[in-house]
């Protein structure tokens, strides 16, 4: 029976090693599934509702930001360099893995009608909405 498993491509680790590997894989999967950090963020009058100063996650966790806004805005997570266009009509989700530790500003570049006006990009103004801190585990 062990021979069959070997032919299936299991690494030749022995029964104990194989079991350990399986357990590790399980833990990793479980960990990955558990480590999604969700944040509901609501932009009201160009600020985060409730004054969201800083959100903190651990490195390696998956971050899920759910945005709602009362006004169209163009969003930028610095460092990770993620961008999104927010619309008051529907919530927007941002999902990413927090691979690098650091403190990153999340800014809105333009609000309202100018949010999708590309030509003014050079003289745009940013408003820092909140910071994301990714702490080393």
């Amino acid at each position: 029976m062990p021979n069959v498993q070997l032919t299936f491509g299991w690494p030749a680790l022995g029964a104990l090693g194989r079991r350990a590997l399986a357990v590790l894989l399980g833990v990793a999967l479980l960990g990955a599934a558990a480590a999604v950090r969700e944040f509901d963020l609501n932009i009201l009058k160009r600020r985060i509702e409730g004054g969201g100063a800083t959100i903190r996650v651990k490195r390696g966790e998956t971050v899920l930001l759910r945005w709602r806004t009362d006004e169209a805005a163009s969003l930028h997570v610095h460092g990770y360099d993620l961008r999104a266009k927010l619309s008051p009509l529907a919530p927007t989700s941002m999902r990413f893995e927090a691979r690098v530790a650091g403190r990153f500003a999340i800014t809105a570049h333009e609000f309202g009608a100018v949010a999708d006006h590309e030509s003014r990009q050079k003289e745009h103004r940013e408003t820092t909405l909140l910071h994301l801190e990714v702490l080393p585990e």
Partner: protein
């Protein structure tokens, strides 16, 4: 035929991938923090536990050292140094070809940065000028000066270009010198450099064009013209000691370094290896202008970090409230408050230091007058500033320095790929965040210990009475603890960028 088509397809594919990588790379630090003239910082604040540990360690070590000095005085005599001139390393550095190559490299980089700044693409991250000036040269050269030795004295392109012109003139018109040979007024001291330093700090912290290539290049040309004018009027050596602010600043930092270039007569130079920091021990007090320059350097280093703290954000918001709508501008008001900070910080440092200098003189039984005391001890504060500088800029240098890899292939931003590194993707977090914390705390506490030790040795030399020397050091240690605490406090603050 089909093969050629295939290569084309692959190439096109590569090109699109390259374009994506570049656009990402260019946006990583998309003109965010304006605090350092260029680039963004993503440092995490030091956690409270580490901050407290660092602060506790600073105070405890200060007391331990004073107690130790009470029992056994450190030797006040000369330090031991090893002559490196005749070792392999010394010979290599002393070889004329090597030095000439270094100088030519310095001049070539200077010319590259200026031409790229003037004629290259006007984007902070697609032009080599901003990263070269603010990250590699200003931050990097300070690192090298403090940790290795006075490299700027060897490669200073302004000095080299003037010296070459001098040599050329001497060949064309033998016996004539390229200087008007005016006598430099001694009362002027190094004040030109002190004033220029403040102007430079203003450019770094306040100037809205600090990351604009053309403005930077123009400023470099302006400064070069000023330097050459000074050299023309008073002679090269004289202006390097009094007015070329970077020769003075990097020279002061290099007094901490373990190598020393010294004249060994007949126009030859000797290279010595010495312990870290001993170059800051001075027998004679520094002049008032140097005193102010040193304190302005200390103030600038701290202020540069302070302007990213929430406290400064609050101050700024109070004095220059942000405009209500995004269309109007509150930039001018902010610039004024920041300018006040750039000028106020060194003034505050000078005032506080003079109060402490009086206390030191009083503690030492007025054996040494205040004016001498102030000039004697000021250099011993430099290690604390160096330690903070290392801590503050470690991850910035690791990140911003990487921009050089793609920029080396395309310094003007014209889309060339000279070395095939154009598409290098800049990685953030190259140095582990936790490592940065420990290195920062370690550096700051070590810098403090070195400073306390140097001050004590200076006191022993100055007072030649152990009891008086010890008494004089209580206020000095108190001042050093305060200054170190400022450094620790700043790196424990979350970075806030004001927009």
């Amino acid at each position: 035929m089909t093969r050629r088509a295939a290569t084309f397809a692959v190439r096109a594919q590569r090109r699109t991938r390259a374009a994506v990588a570049v656009s990402l790379g260019a946006l990583v630090a998309s003109a965010q923090a304006q605090a350092h003239g260029f680039g963004a910082r993503y440092d995490l604040p030091i956690p409270l536990s580490l901050y407290l540990a660092g602060a506790g360690l600073t105070v405890a070590l200060s007391f331990a050292m004073l107690a130790l000095f009470m029992r056994k005085a450190p030797s006040a005599g000369e330090y031991r140094s090893i002559d490196l001139t005749h070792t392999v390393f010394g010979r290599l550095l002393g070889a004329p070809g090597v030095l000439l190559t270094c100088r030519m490299l310095g001049v070539a980089l200077f010319l590259l940065v200026v031409t790229a700044g003037l004629f290259g693409v006007q984007s902070p991250l697609k032009n080599i000028a901003p990263v070269m000036v603010w990250a590699i040269w200003w931050v990097g050269m300070a690192y090298i000066s403090a940790l290795l030795g006075n490299l700027w004295a060897l490669v200073n392109p302004l000095d080299t270009l003037f010296a070459w012109t001098e040599a050329l003139c001497a060949r064309i018109w033998p016996g004539r010198e390229l200087t008007l040979g005016l006598r430099y007024p001694d009362t002027l001291g190094a004040w030109p450099a002190s004033v220029l330093f403040l102007a430079f700090v203003w450019m770094e912290v306040v100037w809205e064009h600090s990351d604009s290539p053309a403005y930077l290049a123009t400023a470099m040309l302006g400064y070069s013209a000023l330097t050459w004018l000074g050299m023309l009027l008073f002679g090269r050596a004289q202006w390097l000691r009094r007015g070329e602010v970077f020769a003075l600043v990097f020279g002061l930092l290099a007094r901490f370094a373990p190598t020393e270039l010294r004249e060994s007569g007949a126009g030859r130079c000797a290279l010595d290896l010495r312990p870290y920091g001993v170059g800051l021990l001075s027998r004679e007090p520094v002049s008032n202008s140097i005193l102010v320059l040193v304190l302005a350097m200390l103030a600038a280093v701290s202020f540069d970090g302070f302007i990213e703290t929430p406290l400064w954000a609050t101050i700024l918001e109070y004095y220059a409230p942000p405009a209500q709508d995004l269309a109007s501008d509150s930039g001018a008001a902010r610039a004024w408050v920041q300018t006040a900070g750039v000028i106020g910080a060194p003034l505050l440092f000078v005032a506080v230091y003079l109060v402490f200098a009086r206390l030191i003189a009083w503690g030492g039984g007025a054996r040494v007058p205040v004016t001498r005391t102030a000039g004697l001890f000021v250099l011993t504060l430099v290690p604390i500033a160096i330690a903070y500088h290392l801590a503050h800029y470690l991850s910035f240098l690791a990140m911003a320095g990487q921009y050089l890899i793609p920029l080396a292939s395309d310094p003007f931003g014209f889309g060339r790929d000279l070395f095939g590194t154009k598409n290098y993707f800049v990685r953030i977090g190259l140095v582990d965040a936790r490592a940065v914390w420990y290195i920062s705390i370690g550096a700051i506490v070590t810098g403090h210990v070195v400073a306390v030790y140097l001050a004590h040795r200076t006191a022993l030399r100055a007072y030649s009475d152990r009891r008086l020397a010890l008494r004089s050091q209580w206020p000095m240690v108190a001042l050093m603890v305060c200054y170190t605490m400022i450094s620790l406090w700043i790196i424990a603050q979350p970075i806030v960028t004001i927009r």
